[in-house]
């Protein structure tokens, strides 16, 4: 595509989805959203507006959904990741993901974090990398004395930070976070939010959230998605994408205005 070199540097991911289907279901249309390097981009909007669907397109996690197809393209550092020559496994190694429900493997805390390193055939000092990742996820002090205990023995918030540590251990370029705090209490949520701001020094983050305050607190840019029911189906689309502060203080679209005022859910 004709992206200028300046643009390519600024946006790690260029996502341009024209039409997206799951089988016969027309799920998403007209989402053109950049993910700026070294920033946090939040996707907000009501349930069923396609935020998570779009997020999962960015590292080809939708490949596993039967009937998934789309028109448009997704570029990672100027490369179309849906090109037939691209290995989706390699894409996911550079674009990591954290899910809504904390999903540590049923192994020790240490093995959870070392998992990606071993997968990548990392030959260096694994314990050092594990410590670094756990520190980056602000979990080291809490688990340093029990690295051998099961990842499942941790609290929900700790499990989610373990999942973040697991994801960042292999130093991906981008971290996709799909409502990472919706299963957590406010204290754990606050910790993860602080962590996200910390992490964006090194990683680019795309964040799906239901929580408008969370988007306001952490995101540099925000995209507002809404559901179009006028065509008979329920098709999500991107209404507005702006700097977070501008979007909340001076939304251009009336849908955005109503939503952030809480006039409909």
């Amino acid at each position: 595509m004709g992206a200028s070199s300046k643009n390519e540097y600024k946006n790690v991911i260029e996502c341009d989805l024209k039409k997206l289907y799951y089988g016969d279901f027309f799920a998403v249309r007209d989402v053109n959203i950049p993910i700026e390097k070294g920033s946090i981009t939040a996707f907000i909007g009501p349930s069923g507006c396609g935020k998570s669907t779009v997020l999962r397109c960015l590292n080809r996690m939708n490949d596993f959904v039967r009937g998934f197809r789309f028109e448009g393209n997704v570029q990672f550092r100027g490369k179309d990741i849906y090109h037939p020559k691209i290995d989706p496994v390699a894409v996911r190694r550079f674009i990591g993901m954290v899910f809504q429900q904390p999903n540590p493997f049923a192994m020790s805390i240490y093995s959870n974090v070392a998992y990606g390193l071993k997968l990548n055939g990392f030959k260096g000092n694994i314990p050092e990398k594990v410590e670094k990742a756990l520190r980056a996820a602000a979990l080291w002090d809490e688990v340093k004395d029990k690295l051998k205990s099961s990842g499942l023995s941790l609290s929900g918030g700790q499990q989610q930070r373990l999942c973040i540590a697991r994801a960042v251990a292999t130093e991906p370029h981008v971290l996709l976070m799909d409502e990472p705090c919706s299963a957590l209490d406010p204290i754990a949520t606050r910790k993860i939010e602080e962590l996200m701001i910390e992490l964006k020094q090194k990683y680019t983050i795309a964040l799906v959230t239901h929580n408008l305050h969370q988007a306001k607190r952490v995101a540099d840019n925000t995209g507002f998605f809404y559901v179009d029911t006028t065509q008979g189906g329920r098709t999500g689309y991107l209404v507005e994408y702006r700097k977070t502060q501008e979007l909340f203080e001076d939304p251009h679209e009336s849908f955005t205005k109503d939503y952030i005022r809480g006039e409909f859910s």
Binding site: I86, D87, R93, F122, T170, E171, P172, H173
Partner: protein
């Protein structure tokens, strides 16, 4: 592959497929190996079905379903009485094993799952899933045939029921356990008693999976031979004779007919056995498909 960093120099070729990567090669190799081995495993299955369709199909006719088994030197003939006999005995076995199995499963999964009785029962029932069918026959011979003084469809039904109970009970227990706890919570929080909750929430939700287990058990029972030799033996006559249903007399079954006739010296009897074998396999197929059709229905 080297570890990537966020440094600006990034070779996007790292994102492409490459035959020089070990994991690409090993992934391809394993996928091919799995496909090939799966196909190899299907060869004997396919061969058996092919043989049955070719040999059985050519001897299948309306007479197969309507006529009695041929005598040694007789021509034609069929196995109508054996089809009826198999259906009747599997029916008797189901009447015994399905209620027992499902009620037992409710006990195991819901009433007292951690009790010593439940643990013992579960252990025994698991053991019973591998119970040699010939022993079920010997047991029913001692318990029913000897007691009532003769081979009968009832005895055959009891022997088959012994084989069906473990499958029905274990799959039903699993089906009940698969019902999400939040559904049970919702019912209990509405003020149901345990039995009301079981009847109105657990049972309907688990029903499709339970039926899958029942159908599998039925499919297995209809092919059993050994237990029936000890209990129902065989009969060359219809089960309804002199306008009376003779459930207390020796009863024909497809499995025993195949067993008897396949070793026969007479070609016509062998041919009837082939046709009966095909019909029996179709029976099993139908019950399996029925079982799947239950489980395919989504829980609404």
């Amino acid at each position: 592959m080297t570890m990537s960093t966020n440094a600006t120099e990034f070779d996007t070729r790292e994102l492409e497929y490459s035959v020089f990567r070990w994991r690409t090669i090993s992934n391809l190799f394993l996928n091919v190996a799995i496909t090939v081995i799966t196909l190899l495993a299907l060869i004997p299955l396919g061969a058996v079905l092919y043989m049955l369709v070719v040999k059985g199909g050519s001897h299948l006719s309306s007479a197969s379903f309507l006529e009695l088994p041929p005598t040694a030197l007789g021509k034609g003939g069929g196995f109508g009485n054996a089809i009826v006999g198999t259906l009747v005995m599997v029916g008797i076995a189901s009447l015994i094993s399905v209620p027992t199995g499902i009620l037992g499963a409710i006990f195991l999964a819901e009433i007292a799952p951690a009790s010593r009785l439940a643990r013992t029962m579960r252990f025994l029932v698991r053991l019973m899933t591998g119970f040699p069918s010939v022993l079920a026959g010997v047991f029913a011979y001692g318990a029913v045939v000897m007691l009532f003084g003769g081979f009968s469809a009832y005895a055959g039904g009891v022997a088959l029921a012994i084989l069906m109970v473990p499958t029905v009970m274990l799959t039903a227990e699993e089906a009940i356990r698969m019902v999400p706890a939040r559904m049970k919570d919702a019912a209990m929080a509405m003020g149901t008693t345990q039995s009301q909750m079981v009847r109105s929430v657990l049972f309907p939700t688990a029903f499709p999976s339970m039926m899958t287990g029942v159908m599998l058990a039925v499919a297995r029972a209809s092919g059993e031979t050994a237990p029936l030799i000890f209990t129902a033996l065989f009969s060359n006559y219809w089960i309804v004779r002199r306008s009376e249903t003779q459930l207390d007399e020796p009863t024909a079954s497809l499995a025993v007919l195949i067993y008897n006739f396949s070793a026969s010296a007479f070609e016509n009897q062998q041919n009837v056995a082939w046709a009966a074998a095909l019909v029996l396999v179709l029976f099993v197929l139908v019950f399996n498909l029925l079982g799947q059709s239950f489980s395919a229905k989504p829980v609404k």
